[in-house]
């Protein structure tokens, strides 16, 4: 009995404790179920979202960038295939060996190797790392052929911007480059690695239209980031093509005509404002910026004294010199301080106050009226005209002809030039206007500066009968498109309010400039009557000629260092019979406008008339060859 009782004690204790522990365990299971209910029901939405974020990766699809075309569809900026060789670390046992084998086929230097290995370290093993880009087709084919012996090597054809004409259109088209920190905005495309954005020129101004809109694809990825499958895909909108007013053939001709000279030239349709050529010489190769400019290339561009990175056609501000004289004359006519017949005697200099103002012709021109003063570019006549008219009236006329104001052209970095007034001098320099300064203004010197584009616009406004044509670089197919009726075009612009006979007097002077025997540019005239050109020479001083030099001997331009020589200018319009084209040419430190700028202008004006881009209808845009598009039909 005693033994049984003790056994019963043990059994009773066991039973009680087993039930206790069993209940406790049931309670703990209850806690587990509570926990699962919390996670799977109450917090389910939160975790569902997190799971989706884990699983789905949004990838942006870069749209194809629009092309930049000339007015006839020639590609000035396009996209070319970018042949790349990449390496996938997980597909090769030995990265070094593969790189070594690769270096026997294409150039893979030590820095490239180090970069590749660094990137492989940083990234997941299945992410391709670029070894070499922009390979030639030959190299690419070679690697392709040997790919069985190159474990881990992956070939890829991407796209990259291409500027087939290198430096010819660099200042118009501009270039693209990697997105900088400050440029990152709302568009997620800009954060794509390797994405290119317009940095200057049309590429920059029209960047948003060229860029297009990003597409995206939703990709399911695993925990290591490897893509499993594509869930959804929205293709983006490719960028628009931008058609310029530029005639590629004319531009190339003009660029080449400048040769080794530093300078700028602008050709404009006087009725529509279409810019047919806009040259700044020397140019630079925009492809350098696209692929990433190297140190030596950058130093070369920056150190060049001809400043290839500056777009001289819109950023170069030069004293207009004698090309300003028509404008001074018109101001005087309108003010009534001069009449067409007012005569001024030129003894070769003019004394005013304590100073003597010299005419470029030492012996003097004798008696001049307005037309002959323009023809022979008599300084004394225009000293007198400006003295009588005053700076403010001259400035007012300059403004109407488009000087001292932004033309508003769709290119980057345009400068405004400077047309001084009395108020300007008082406000900016804090000094009253001196009477003597009027005289200097009369020959386009002193404070006056303008860009070549402004001078071309000025000439266009004179030649089209006084309509305030505005330059444009992107072609619009409105009524101002390829019209052959200049009157239609001219009606679109406001008139600047000059009387016809006053304008005609200025134009007569310009026609006489290219007319022998006395015209200053008669040596650079176009002899074919139907293409005859009118114009105006200009040689603007870069530095003041000192009294000492005057008294001893004025050095000839050829004797001075390049930087001190005069700028050579020429503005022109043609044909005289029915003006259509105007141009402005400047050769930096070229010396004489008649000798340096006028011949270049003549050749360009002859070429533009032969090509006659304004009168030709536009061919369908497409990859037209440069030579095919603009062959003159009526040339010769």
């Amino acid at each position: 009995m005693a033994m049984n009782r003790r056994d019963n004690d043990l059994q009773r204790v066991f039973t009680r404790r087993a039930l206790l522990l069993g209940t406790a365990q049931l309670g703990l299971f209850g806690a587990l179920i509570g926990r699962l209910y919390y996670l799977q029901v109450m917090e389910s939405d939160k975790y569902t979202l997190l799971a989706e974020e884990n699983r789905i990766n949004m990838r942006l699809l870069s749209p194809r960038r629009g092309r930049v075309l000339d007015r006839f569809g020639t590609e000035l900026a396009s996209n070319r295939r970018n042949y790349r060789v990449m390496i996938v670390a997980e597909q090769t046992r030995n990265v070094d060996a593969t790189l070594e084998a690769l270096s026997k086929l294409i150039q893979v230097d030590d820095t490239q190797r180090a970069r590749v290995k660094r990137e492989i370290e940083r990234r997941r093993k299945f992410v391709p790392v670029v070894v070499a880009e922009n390979l030639s087709w030959d190299d690419f084919a070679k690697v392709n052929l040997h790919s069985p012996d190159l474990p881990g090597v992956q070939l890829d054809v991407g796209e990259t911007r291409d500027y087939p004409y290198a430096g010819t259109f660099s200042h118009v088209v501009g270039y693209v480059g990697a997105v900088s920190e400050t440029e990152i905005g709302d568009d997620p495309l800009l954060e794509l690695p390797g994405f290119r954005i317009g940095k200057s020129g049309v590429e920059k101004v029209y960047d948003e239209r060229l860029r297009g809109r990003a597409g995206h694809s939703q990709i399911e990825v695993n925990a290591y980031g490897r893509a499993i499958r594509e869930l959804e895909r929205h293709n983006g909108v490719p960028g628009e093509d931008i058609v310029l007013t530029i005639d590629a053939d004319l531009q190339r001709f003009a660029q080449e005509r400048f040769g080794e000279e530093s300078g700028a030239g602008v050709v404009i349709d006087i009725h529509t404002g279409d810019i047919l050529a806009l040259v700044s010489n020397p140019g630079y190769d925009p492809n350098w910026f696209n692929v990433g400019i190297t140190g030596p290339q950058w130093r070369q561009l920056n150190g060049d004294k001809y400043k290839p990175l500056i777009n001289k056609a819109i950023q170069g501000q030069y004293p207009p010199g004698s090309t300003f004289k028509m404008l001074v004359g018109l101001a005087a006519l309108e003010a009534g301080t001069m009449t067409p017949d007012t005569r001024v005697f030129c003894p070769g200099h003019m004394d005013f106050g304590n100073n003597t103002f010299h005419c470029w012709k030492k012996g003097g021109h004798g008696t001049m009226n307005m037309a002959s003063a323009i023809e022979e570019s008599c300084d004394v006549y225009f000293y007198e005209a400006a003295r009588r008219t005053g700076v403010d009236k001259v400035a007012e006329m300059a403004k109407r002809l488009g000087l001292g104001e932004f033309t508003g052209i769709d290119l980057t970095g345009e400068r405004r030039g400077l047309i001084p007034t009395r108020a300007w001098k008082q406000a900016v320099l804090g000094q009253p206007w001196a009477q003597g300064e009027n005289l200097v203004i009369g020959i386009g010197q002193g404070y006056v500066t303008s860009t070549p584009l402004q001078l071309a616009v000025m000439t266009a406004r004179l030649a089209n009968g006084g309509y305030a044509v505005q330059p444009r670089i992107v072609r619009k197919d409105d009524a101002l498109g390829p019209t052959t009726d200049p009157r239609l075009a001219a009606q679109r612009w406001p008139h600047i309010g000059l009387k016809r006979e006053q304008l005609d007097l200025a134009l007569e002077g310009m026609i006489r400039v290219t007319t022998p025997p006395r015209g200053t540019a008669s040596g650079a005239r176009i002899t074919l009557a139907q293409y005859a050109m009118a114009g105006k020479t200009g040689s603007s001083q870069v530095r003041r000629i000192s009294r000492l030099e005057r008294e001893t001997r004025v050095r000839k331009n050829e004797e001075k260092p390049w930087e001190e020589r005069d700028h050579a200018l020429f503005v022109a319009f043609a044909p005289i019979s029915a003006p259509r084209y105007a141009c402005a040419v400047i050769v930096e430190h070229g010396g004489s406008g008649a000798k340096m700028a006028a011949p270049i202008a003549r050749d360009i004006m002859l070429e533009v008339q032969k090509l006659d881009p304004s009168r030709k209808s536009r061919t369908a845009p497409g990859p037209t060859t440069a030579s095919g598009a603009g062959t003159p039909k009526d040339g010769g």
Binding site: R6, D7, D9, L10, Q11, V13, F14, T15, R17, A18, L19, L21, G22, Q25, L26, L28, F29, A31, L32, I33, R35, L36, Y37, L39, Q40, V41, E43, S44, K46, Y47, T48, L50, A51, E52, N54, R55, E220, V221, N222, A223, Y224, I228
Partner: protein
């Protein structure tokens, strides 16, 4: 032999086989089958490489389980100290020449098979304690001097396992041993003393933890603080569970598991994958099956006539509970990640074998429920 004469002492083999609780075997197979389907899903819809091997092991294990169940309980009682001694020797051997896996020495390479002595010890410890306490009267159990030996029996292997280091198994051994002590009638105040004493010693114990163990505990406290480091597993497991929602993503549709966000999806985290695909509903079904299994275990323990069978069944059932609870609590972020598999479901041969041996002993307690064992048989 006369005092062994009561019913059930001399059952025939056939009768024992009929006495095996086949309902329990069915329940075990059901849980294992859920494991097979989960392993099939974990392999992306393939029985290779996990489900097929697991099924083969289970089939073999099932036979072993039944064989263990029908072997006379007294034989197991007799061999328990020997098994324990072998277990301790193997643990020492592992300390000397063991293979390193997962940063700890756990495996012993015996040429043909790899043995994990700590697994043997899980069963051996319960067996040994059951046998020891079987020999004590209720009064003896209340005396401290009779507790010195069983404490040594527990602390020697626990110490060796901690040294490996395998904190999870050590705690499992401690807890299941504690349960046997408790069932055996060790007075409640002694447990309270040990619990409070242990709590006070925690800061000291902390210093003996390995860095990775400390990190796991710290990570457990605040997993979101380090989502890409060691907190990653817990966070991803919670995301998988939570995103599974009420009804789950569907069989083989678990994105967290199939896209590898979930670690160890075929072993320790298989519950997460299962609950991601089958939702709270599926989780409740599986938990209900486990509760049923554990209830069965207690029923067997309560029905057994000998103290040895009671303690053995009670200890094994508690161990089973601990496995299930710690695993699910771990993957749902209630306790630190300690590396305890989900019984019968997680992929792994050793754990499967241990469990089926344990369950075989549990069924054995049922088959031999009426066998009376004299107290003196406990002695050597």
């Amino acid at each position: 032999m006369a005092h062994w004469s009561s019913r059930g002492n001399d059952q025939s083999f056939g009768r024992k086989l009929r006495d095996v609780n086949w309902g329990l075997v069915l329940l075990i197979s059901l849980i294992a089958s859920i494991g097979f389907s989960a392993l099939y899903s974990a392999a992306g819809g393939d029985i290779d490489p996990w489900a097929d091997r697991q099924m083969a092991r289970f089939a073999i294990g099932l036979v072993i389980m039944v064989m263990i169940a029908v072997t006379d309980i007294r034989i197991w009682m007799r061999f328990s100290y020997i098994v324990y001694a072998v277990g301790v020797v193997l643990l020492i051997a592992v300390e000397l020449v063991g293979r390193i896996g997962m940063g700890a020495q756990r495996w012993l390479d015996l040429g043909v098979v790899h043995v994990q002595p700590s697994e043997i010890m899980k069963i051996a410890l319960v067996l040994t304690l059951a046998r020891y306490f079987h020999g004590l009267s209720y009064e003896d159990v209340g005396r401290i001097r009779w507790l010195v030996v069983p404490l040594a029996i527990v602390l020697v292997p626990v110490g060796l396992v901690i040294k490996q280091p395998d904190l999870g198994t050590a705690m499992l051994l401690l807890a299941s041993s504690g349960a046997v002590f408790f069932f055996a009638g060790v007075r409640a105040w002694k447990f309270l003393l040990v619990i409070f004493g242990g709590g006070a010693a925690l800061p000291v114990a902390w210093n003996f933890l390995h860095d990775y163990q400390k990190r796991r505990v710290l990570t457990f406290m605040n997993p979101e603080q380090d989502p890409l480091g060691s907190g990653y597993h817990i966070l991803q497991s919670k995301i998988a569970l939570g995103s599974g929602g009420f009804s789950g993503k569907g069989f083989m549709q678990g994105t967290q598991s199939h896209l590898s966000f979930l670690p160890e999806k075929q072993t320790d985290f298989i519950f997460t994958m299962y609950a991601e695909e089958h939702g709270l509903i599926g989780a409740l079904v599986l938990i209900a099956l486990y509760i049923l299994l554990i209830a069965y275990g207690y029923a067997i323990a309560l029905r057994a006539r000998s103290q040895f069978a009671r303690l053995l069944a009670g200890g094994l059932t508690t161990m089973l509970f601990l496995y299930v609870f710690i695993n699910i609590a771990m993957v749902s972020g209630l306790v630190p990640v300690v590396g305890v598999p989900l019984p019968l479901v997680s992929y792994g041969g050793t754990a499967m074998m241990t469990l089926l041996v344990g369950l075989g002993l549990l069924i054995n307690c049922y088959v031999h429920r009426d066998v009376e064992i004299p107290r003196h048989m406990s002695g050597l």
